[in-house]
C-alpha cells in the first residue's frame, strides 16, 4: 500500500495581513501590463487600497485574536498583538508614502508601476520581520524589505546622487546582512536552533555562558544597529536619504526603522533575556552616543533631507532609551514612539516633497524663507510636525518622549533621561531654525511653489490627524502598545 501523501495542514491565518499585501503587489504588476500605459495613477490607488485592506485586516485581527496569538509554519511566523501593532505602524507608514508618491513620481517623470509594487514588497518584508518567530524569518523579512528599498533608493535613475545613495545603501546593507547571518550561524552553533523561543530556553538552561553565543548576539546587534541606523552604524543614512526619492526616504525613516525595532525588541525580549550579558548597559552607551551624535551633526545641516536623516538618527537614540528601560512601560513606550514618530516624520517629509523651487525639489533651508506668507497651510503643517519632533505638547512627539523618559526614570536610569531631555533641548534649535525661516524671514529669489496634489494633501491630513490624536488622547493606543509587549515579557 502506498502511504497516502499527507499534506501538513497549512494555517494561513497568521499570514493574512501579509497575504493582502502580496496579492495587491501582484495585482499591481499585472495591471501595469494592460492599458492605460501612460498614466499610472490607478496603480497607486490600487496599492493604497491594498494597504487600507491590510490595516482593516490587522484591526479586525487585533480584536478577534484578543490577547492570544496565532502560530504558523512550525513557529516560524507568529501573529500576536505585538506583530499586529507593528503592522499598524508599518501600514500607516506605507499608506502615507504611497499617497505622497502618486503625484510626486509623475512630477519627476519617473512614473512606473514597479515603484508601487516595490513599496508593497518592502512593506511585506517589514511586516514579516515584525511577525518572525525565527531568526531565519527575521533574515528573510530583512532581505525582502532591504532589496526593495535599495532599488527604490536609486529609482530616480537620471540623478547622480540617486546612484550614489543606492550603491552606498546596498553595500553597507549587504555588509550588515553578513554580520547578521554570521550571528545567526554562531547562535545556531551554540544552541542548536534558530527559533527564538528555543534559543531563549537554551539560554535560560545555561547556554548563555557560551562565548560563541555571546559573539553571535553581538553580531546580531551590529546588524540591527545598521538597520535602525544607530551610531556608529549610521553613516549610510544621510546619503541614502538625500539621494532617494523623498517619499522613499520617508519610508526608510519610518517603516524600515519600525520593522528593525520590531525584530530587535523581540529578539532581546524572547531570546536574549536571561543571558548573563549586560546588554542594557551596552544599549545605554549606544543610546547616548546615537542621540548626541545625531543631534549635534544635525545642527550643521543646510539640506533638509540630511537634517531629517540626522534627526531620525537622534530619534533612534531616544527609542533606545525605552529599550534600555525595558519592562512593559519601556518596551511599550518604544512601540508607541514608533507610531508617533511615523506620523510625524512621514508628514515632515511629505511637506518637503510637495514644495518645489526652480523646477527642483525644495530641500535647502534657504528655500523656506518666508514660506508662511506664500503657503500658510503648508508652513503650518510643517511647523506642527517640527513641534512634534521637538516634543512640544500637545503633539504625539511630546507624549512619546514623555513615555520613554518615564520608563527610564521608573527603571532607575534617571541620568539617561536627563541626557535625553538635554538632547531634546539641543535638537529644538535646528527644528526651530526651519520655523524661523518659514515665519520670520522674507522670501528671496525664485518663489517656492506648492505642487498641487490631492493624494499628497490626503496623506498630510492623515499624518496630522495621527500627530494630534496621539498627542491629545494617547491613552487607548498606549494601552494597546503596552498590551502588545506584555505577553513577550512573561
Amino acid at each position: 500500500m502506498n502511504p497516502a501523501l499527507v499534506l501538513p495542514a497549512v494555517d494561513l491565518r497568521p499570514l493574512l495581513p501579509l497575504l493582502v499585501l502580496a496579492v495587491t503587489a501582484g495585482l499591481v504588476l499585472l495591471l501595469d501590463l494592460v492599458p492605460p500605459r501612460e498614466r499610472k495613477d490607478h496603480l497607486g490607488f490600487v496599492s493604497a487600497l491594498g494597504v487600507v485592506g491590510t490595516l482593516i485586516v490587522t484591526y479586525w485581527m487585533t480584536f478577534s485574536v484578543g490577547g492570544g496569538e496565532l502560530r504558523g509554519f512550525r513557529g516560524m511566523v507568529v501573529l500576536d498583538p505585538y506583530a499586529l501593532f507593528f503592522n499598524i505602524v508599518i501600514g500607516y507608514a506605507t499608506g502615507i508614502v504611497l499617497l505622497l508618491s502618486m503625484d510626486y513620481i509623475r512630477r519627476e517623470r519617473q512614473e512606473a508601476g514597479e515603484f508601487y509594487a516595490l513599496v508593497l514588497f518592502s512593506a511585506l518584508g517589514m511586516m514579516l520581520m515584525a511577525s518572525a518567530g525565527d531568526l531565519i524569518m527575521v533574515f528573510l523579512g530583512l532581505e525582502t524589505m532591504s532589496i526593495a528599498l535599495y532599488v527604490l533608493t536609486g529609482f530616480f535613475r537620471s540623478r547622480i546622487e540617486a546612484g550614489e545613495a543606492s550603491m552606498k545603501y546596498f553595500l553597507i546593507g549587504a555588509f550588515a546582512s553578513g554580520f547578521f547571518l554570521y550571528g545567526i550561524a554562531l547562535i545556531f552553533g551554540a544552541t542548536g536552533s534558530t527559533n527564538l523561543d528555543r534559543i531563549g530556553n537554551a539560554v535560560a538552561a545555561g547556554a548563555g555562558r557560551d562565548p560563541m553565543l555571546v559573539i553571535g548576539f553581538g553580531l546580531l546587534l551590529v546588524g540591527f544597529g545598521f538597520k535602525i541606523s544607530s551610531v556608529p552604524f549610521h553613516m549610510w543614512a544621510p546619503d541614502a536619504y538625500e539621494g532617494a526619492p523623498t517619499s522613499v526616504a520617508a519610508l526608510i525613516a519610518t517603516g524600515s526603522k519600525a520593522a528593525a525595532f520590531a525584530a530587535l525588541l523581540r529578539v532581546l525580549l524572547t531570546a536574549v533575556r536571561g543571558a548573563p550579558l549586560d546588554w542594557p548597559f551596552l544599549v545605554w552607551g549606544l543610546s547616548v552616543l546615537t542621540m548626541t551624535v545625531g543631534n549635534v551633526v544635525a545642527l550643521a545641516q543646510q539640506n533638509l533631507k540630511r537634517m531629517l536623516a540626522y534627526s531620525s538618527i537622534a530619534h533612534v537614540g531616544y527609542m533606545l532609551v525605552g529599550v534600555v528601560a525595558g519592562g512593559s512601560l519601556g518596551s511599550g513606550s518604544v512601540l508607541f514612539y514608533l507610531l508617533a514618530y511615523t506620523f510625524t516624520t512621514a508628514g515632515a517629509f511629505g511637506v518637503l516633497l510637495l514644495l518645489e523651487r526652480d523646477g527642483r525639489e525644495a530641500v535647502q533651508l534657504a528655500d523656506y524663507g518666508g514660506l508662511a506668507a506664500r503657503h500658510p497651510l503648508a508652513a503650518l503643517a510643517l511647523s506642527i510636525f517640527l513641534l512634534s519632533l521637538i516634543g512640544i505638547p500637545p503633539t504625539a512627539g511630546f507624549v512619546g518622549k514623555f513615555y520613554l523618559f518615564a520608563a527610564a526614570v521608573k527603571s532607575g536610569y534617571v541620568w539617561l533621561a536627563v541626557i535625553g531631555v538635554l538632547n531634546s533641548a539641543v535638537a529644538a534649535y535646528y527644528y526651530l531654525r526651519l520655523i524661523v525661516f518659514m515665519y520670520m524671514r522674507e522670501p528671496e529669489g525664485a518663489p517656492t511653489v506648492l505642487a498641487p496634489s490631492l493624494s499628497g494633501a490626503l496623506a498630510l491630513v492623515v499624518a496630522l490627524w495621527g500627530v494630534v490624536q496621539l498627542g491629545v488622547m494617547p491613552g487607548p493606543l498606549f494601552d494597546l502598545a503596552q498590551a502588545a509587549v506584555v505577553p513577550l515579557l512573561r
Binding site: 511630546f398 514623555f402 523618559f405 526614570v409 533621561a417 529644538a428 534649535y429 520670520m440
Partner: protein, 505 residues
Amino acid sequence: MGYLLTLVTFLPAAGALLVLLLPRRQEPATKRLALGTTLVTFAVSLPLYFRFDPTSADYQFVEQKAWIPSLGVGYHLGVDGISVLLVLLTTFLMPLVILSSWTSVESRWKEFAITMLLLEAGMIGVFVSLDLFLFYVFWEAMLIPMYLIIGIWGGHNRVYAAVKFVLYTLAGSLLMLVAILALYFQHGAATGVYTFDLPVLARYVLPGGRAQDLMFFAFALAFAIKVPMFPFHTWLPDAHVEAPTAGSVILAGVLLKMGTYGFLRFCLPLFPDASLTYAPWMFVLSVIGILYGAWVCTVQPDIKKLVAYSSVSHLGFVVLGLFTLTPQGLVGGLIQMVNHGLSTGALFLMVGMIYERRHTRLIADFGGLWKVVPAFSAVFLIVCLSSVGLPGLNGFVGEFLILLGAFQVDRLAAVLATSGIIFAAVYLLWMYQRVCFGEVTHEANRRLTDLSPREWAVLLPVLLFIVWIGVYPTTFTAMTEPSVQSLISQVQSKARATTAALMTR
C-alpha cells in the same frame, strides 16, 4: 457653572479657531473678533472673583476627569487664593494688550490674533491646572506662541531673542519634566498610587535628602529661569527689548509670574525640606537680583531696556517674600506679582505708545515732554511712582509686606532689599526727569500728539487698579490669606515630619 474654568481656559482657543476661519483681508473684523474674544473671556472670568469664597483655603471651581487613566493623568482644574488673582490678571490684561496693538502691529494681524489668543489659553491653563502632567502640557505649549510673537513682530534682533528665549526656558523645563517623573514614581512606589494629581502628591511627605534636593533643584531651575532670577536672567532683556509692546506686556505681566507662581504652587508644598534648607540661598540670589537689576537699570540709555531690567529687581522682591514662609511675605509676594503685572505692564504700554510716535526709545532723544504731551506725562508719572513703591499706590503695599516678612527671618536681606527700593526711585525718577522735564531738546518732539481715546481706554483700567490696590488692598489680600496660611502650615508640618523621620532613623 461646573465648567467655568474650562470655559475660561478654552474660550480664547475657540476664538483663535474663529479667527483662523476669517479671510485674510478682513483685518478690521479680525481685530474686533480678537478684542471681543478677550473681553468675553474677561467677563466670563469675573465670577471667579465674585463667587470665590475668601474664607476657604480649598481649591474652588474644581473640575476633575480622567484623561490617561493608565498613567494616573487627570484633567484636574481648580483655583485657590494663590492662583485666582493671577487668572484674573491674565484675563484683565489681554483685552488691553490687544487694544494697544491696534495700530502698532502692522502686518499679519490674523496670525497675531491667533497666537495671542492661544497664548492666553496656555497662560490660564498653567494657572488653573492641578495635575502635573496637564500643567506641564500648558507650560510647554505656551512657549511657542510667545516665541512667534517675539520672532515675527519683534524688533531688529528678534530672531536671536526669540530663539534664546525658547532654548533657555526649554532647557529648564525639560529638567523639571524628569523631576516630575521622579516624584511620580517615588510617590507611586511609596503609596501604591500612581498619579500626577497635585493635591494628592502634595499630601505625600517626601523623604528628605539627596533625591528631594535634586528634584527641588530641577523645579527651581525651571522657575528661576522663568522669573528670571539672577544669574538666569540674561534672556530677559533681549526678549523684552525685541518683543513688540504686546509681547513685552504679556511677558512682564503674566509670563514671569509663572516662575514665581511655580515656586509657590510646586516647590514649597512638594519639597518643603529642601525649600527650607535652601531658602537662605534663594534670599542671596533674590537680593543680588534686586540690587544688580536696579544698578543696571540706572545706566540704561534705552527706556524699554530699563523697564526690562527693573523686572529682575522687582521679581527679586517677590521671590524673597515667598521664601520667607511668613504670612506677610507670601501675601506680599502674591500681591506684588499682581502689582508688577499692572505697573510694569503699564510702563511697557506707555513706552510702546511713545515709540509708536517717535520710533525711538532712547532717553536722550526725549526731554521736556511735559510741555508737549501733559496727559501722557501725568499718567507716566503715576505709573513710575507706582513702580517705585510710593505709599498710596499699589507697589508700596506689596513691597512693604514682603519686607515685613523678610525682616522676621533675615534682617540683613531685608535691609539690603530695602535699599533696592531707594535705587528704584533713583533709576525711575531720574529717567522720568530726563524724559519729561526740562526744555524740549528735540524738534521732532514738538509735534507729538497726546493720548488718544483708544490709549486712554487702555490705560484707565490699569490706573484704576493701581490706585485701588494702593488704597484698599484688603479687597484682594483677603482672598489670598486662607490659602497662604494653609500652605505655610502644610510646609511646616511636612518639614517637621521629615525631620522627625530622620531623627528616629
